[in-house]
Symmetry: C2
Subunit: 107 residues, 2 copies
DNA sequence: CATTTATATAATAATATAGTTATATAACAG
DNA sequence: CTGTTATATAACTATATTATTATATAAATG
């Protein structure tokens, strides 16, 4: 069972979304992720911890480095939840279509 | 330009996700949304305000009632951002496929 | 008009979040 | 072994979030 609280909460922060966008280009170490931001290394380390415990990234150990990459499953789990809303919205849209169709035939 | 911070932040709260799930079944008034929760009416009103300003719900005025429903666009905007991650993950997966294929032909 | 119903807002308290600096740890380089 | 590099953790501060109670407002009802 995924932790949607943690996943959505992690995605709510623009810094963390930027980190994920960077990782979409490929693996990166902590210092590589610190570099583009005006934040200290401990701040980024905390963001990475949040992303990791939300299941959004995974980390390897490579000597003293901890390269991060996107985790494969979390996005799918988020999508799965959102699909419920998508369905409801599509259903409403279809209903609206029907209403408009009915209005046409009434004329 | 959508406010992804607000949207993801709104979705991070299980109460608010439950409200959205309820609204997926159809429009509901504030008191109807209060009923299933062990929370006070002001608490739910605040959650609704958060959902509204994140663009996830819209409200009508109907006498003294304020029926809420799902907003049509926000989910699409979230999906759009997530698709970036999805693509990256699929690319990695394809690459892994390629690696596995290469390992096979090497034998 | 007085009362009730539906909702919103304000004041407040408890907790969570995000940043900082300082420091610890562990691998690496010489 | 010593100094340096990569990262993590602790202590602390500022701000945001979430809940509560009390109260305001505006429509509905008798």
């Amino acid at each position: 069972m995924p932790n949607l609280d943690a996943a959505f909460s992690a995605l709510a922060c623009p810094t963390r979304r930027a980190i994920l966008a960077r990782l979409a280009l490929g693996e990166a170490t902590v210092m590589e992720l610190v570099e583009p931001f005006e934040l200290t290394q401990p701040a980024i380390s905390r963001h990475l911890k949040v992303l990791e415990s939300a299941g959004l990234i995974i980390r390897r150990v490579e000597g003293t480095k901890r390269p991060c990459r996107l985790a494969p499953t979390a996005v799918a789990e988020i999508d799965q939840w959102l699909s419920m809303l998508r369905q409801a919205l599509n259903a409403n849209y279809d209903r609206l279509d029907q209403v408009l169709a009915d209005m046409k035939t009434e004329k």
